[in-house]
């Protein structure tokens, strides 16, 4: 069995530790005897998205995102067809916004996205605060539990009827700092503001994505459990640090601290 992973725009959209996600996907497959190939595709590179099991996109600076989106529009139909055939797409932070319909910046013309996720993002204006800080959400995917990470975005995102939230905000801002939604899911496409190394401290989410990605070619696969002591300890420490108690993968009391 093998997993074909594509890291799309590793040079442009890799703002802050995004490659940690690819490291985790590789390691968690190899530790189970599943082979992994990682293709790094840049702007202009030939890529048949339908041959890939899992495509990852990270975050970038404004200028880099502007370059990436032009290439991304060219690939939109291919990516859409791949997702329809079961390819998992994971987009964090900047690329999450690009997968939507449109991004309205603080100034200047709207930036058209690739319409793979039913959502819109707008920047509330130059003076508006950025949504920055540690974040914890309760993931909507069955069996995944809490996701913990860090968010740092100026844009606020509203989901349309076609997308469901990836989770509900416990601590932090999420999509817009108002409706407690965080991220989006639409078929096998996932987007989230939990940026950078999202998967290392959220191994259950990593495994859910790996399982879903393998299903395309190998059907239902039972993933052997791994020794996640270090991951669990890092999760617990991070959740304790951001003020969400976390004894047994269940939330107690405490609501959102901000937004």
């Amino acid at each position: 069995m093998d997993l074909r992973v594509c890291h799309l725009y590793p040079d442009l959209l890799n703002l802050y530790g995004d490659r940690g996600n690819v490291l985790v996907l590789e390691r968690r497959c190899r530790d189970r005897g599943i082979d992994v190939s990682v293709t790094r595709a840049r702007v202009g590179d030939a890529l048949d998205a339908r041959t890939q099991d899992l495509i990852f996109l990270g975050g970038g600076e404004d200028r880099q995102q502007g370059v990436a989106v032009v290439d991304l529009r060219r690939r939109a139909a291919d990516l859409g067809a791949a997702a329809a055939s079961g390819t998992v797409i994971l987009a964090v932070c900047g690329s999450y916004q690009l997968l939507g319909h449109v991004y309205h910046p603080a100034e200047g013309p709207a930036l058209e996205g690739v319409h793979l996720l039913d959502l819109e993002t707008r920047h509330p204006g130059r003076g508006a605060r950025r949504l920055i800080g540690n974040i914890a959400i309760e993931c909507s995917l069955p069996g995944v539990g809490a996701l913990v990470g860090f968010e740092n975005h100026g844009g606020v995102t509203d989901l349309g009827a076609g997308a469901t939230p990836l989770g509900r905000v416990r601590v932090g801002y999420g999509n817009n700092g108002e409706d407690k939604t965080e991220g989006a899911m639409q078929g096998t496409i996932f987007g989230t503001y939990l940026h950078g190394p999202l998967l290392p401290k959220n191994p259950s989410f990593a495994d859910a994505l790996i399982g879903l990605a393998l299903r395309r070619r190998f059907g239902e696969v039972r993933l052997a459990p791994l020794d996640d002591d270090v991951e669990s300890a890092a999760r617990r420490a991070a959740l304790a640090r951001i003020g969400a108690s976390y004894p047994t993968d269940r939330w107690r009391g405490r609501g959102a601290a901000s937004s």
């Binding site: 490659r19 985790v24 270090v230 420490a237």
Partner: protein, 462 residues
């Protein structure tokens, strides 16, 4: 001197004395805060009295060491220097340094100012100080939660420097395309410095994330050699934009692990000098090079520069060596991926008997520890010693090391830093070497712990 400025100076000095007396801290910023509250223009007032003007040093990495080196050269050259030594590099720190070097009747005791300033503080500091020289060391990815993106800082710098007149010279790192892009669009006199010795470099970028794009046409730069992060000898394959030829160059470089380095520094006019420094790593060769170029520009003699740079003692956390119960302890501050990668390269070549990494996520460290995943901790895989991790984000560090390929039984987690120091020192054993790699606030904590054991000095004594 206005009455308002005098009151500000007097109150500032009083607060400084009090905070020292009460051991509330070094008094490196409070006097400045108070003086600025009384007279918001205090920096401009006091800087105008510096007979030989002032020098600003800014950039992601190397500010503190470079500024210290320049100040030391000036001092040895016979000038009285006003300098924010303790690394207090925001406006209050600059103001505090000026206040503490002004007499009670408002007379400047310093002749020349040498100030390191935070990247985001540079625009305002440049406006207030009207420096004769600005040294730009580098621009790497750093604490995005605080600084925003590189392009954002670059835009702020460009706007600030565009407003200066030709009385300011910009001394800049030609090897860094992000810095060069800013200077290329300025009309100020500019002096590029850079490393020539290709043997110190690598053939390609470490991590794709550091790629830079041509500031003229947007094509990715190609590198003949990469020295550090995205610094190297770059050129645009499309439009031909390339690294400017440096006017001050470091060549014939020898790196001696954590014990120091030597280099030959040459100027366009044919003069050169050989420096042997206790400062370790290629990143410090950049600092030494920038300082030599700056001091020479200010008129310090080459011989004075050579002696100063060769006898300079590193500051706490910047390579200073301490002895503690028979263990040689070296503390190397790491703040961002570019800096950390260079530290790891230096550490891996030195093979210490014990290694301690302390990661905090307080405001001064950056509250987002995502950057740990941009650091090539894989370099530690072949280190024979156990790695102890500590700090508020010890567990994040342990997780990163797991995915870097270190067996979990070689990584020990001790969140309490003083305790971790003791255990790691015991690991090193008498006659051994312990290297501590802390983030900024972890470095201050380590210093406090070591000071209470009588091993290190307080930062105000530095």
């Amino acid at each position: 001197m206005s009455l308002r400025a005098l009151v500000g100076i007097t109150l500032g000095k009083l607060v400084g004395r009090l905070s020292r007396l009460l051991r509330a801290g070094g008094g490196t910023t409070m006097p400045g805060r108070v003086a600025r509250a009384v007279d918001p223009a205090i920096i401009a007032h006091l800087a105008a009295d510096l007979r030989l003007g002032s020098v600003l040093v800014s950039g992601t990495n190397g500010k503190t060491t470079t500024a210290r080196l320049i100040a030391s050269c000036c001092e040895r050259g016979g000038w009285r220097v006003t300098h924010n030594r303790a690394g207090a590099n925001l406006h209050a720190g600059v103001a505090a340094a000026l206040v503490s070097r002004t007499s009670a009747i408002g007379r400047a005791r310093g002749e020349i100012g040498v100030f390191e300033v935070d990247e985001l503080a540079l625009p305002r500091a440049a406006r207030d100080l009207r420096p004769r020289l600005i040294v730009l060391t580098n621009l790497y990815r750093d604490q995005l939660d605080r600084y925003g993106e590189i392009d954002h800082i670059a835009a702020r710098w460009h706007d600030a420097l565009s407003a200066l007149g030709p009385g300011t010279t910009v001394l800049f790192n030609a090897d860094d395309p992000a810095v060069t892009a800013i200077v290329a669009r300025l009309s100020l006199p500019a002096v590029p410095f850079g490393i020539e010795d290709d043997r110190c470099g690598r053939p390609s970028l470490e991590d794709a994330a550091d790629a830079r794009y041509c500031y003229r046409c947007g094509t990715p730069f190609t590198y003949r050699v990469v020295f550090l992060s995205h610094a190297g000898k770059y050129a645009c394959p499309r439009c031909g934009t390339a690294r400017p030829d440096p006017c001050v160059r470091a060549d014939a470089i020898t790196l001696r692990g954590t014990t120091g380095a030597s280099a030959s520094i040459a100027w366009d006019n044919g003069t050169h000098l050989t420096v042997d420094t206790a400062l370790p790593g290629l990143y410090n060769v950049y600092n030494v090079l920038a300082a030599a170029a700056a001091a020479a520009h200010l008129g310090v003699s080459k011989e004075t520069i050579r002696v100063t740079l060769s006898t300079f003692t590193p500051a706490f956390g910047r390579g200073e060596r301490l002895t503690w119960n028979g263990v040689a302890l070296q503390i190397l501050l790491g703040k961002n991926p570019a800096g950390f990668n260079e530290l790891l390269r230096t550490v891996a070549s030195a093979s210490p008997t014990a290694l301690l990494i302390a990661i905090n996520d307080l405001t001064a460290d950056g509250t987002d520890v995502s950057w740990l995943w941009d650091v090539e901790f894989e370099m530690l895989r072949d280190l024979p010693s156990t790695v102890t991790v500590s700090g508020l984000r010890a567990h994040d560090m342990a997780l990163r090391l797991k995915y870097a390929g270190l067996p979990t039984d070689r990584v020990r987690i001790i969140e309490d830093l003083p305790q971790a120091l003791r255990v790691a020192a015991a690991d090193a054993g008498t006659g051994g070497t312990l290297i501590l790699l802390p983030t900024y606030t972890a470095m201050l904590q380590a210093r406090d712990a070591l000071r209470s054991m009588g091993v290190a000095r307080g930062f105000w004594e530095d």
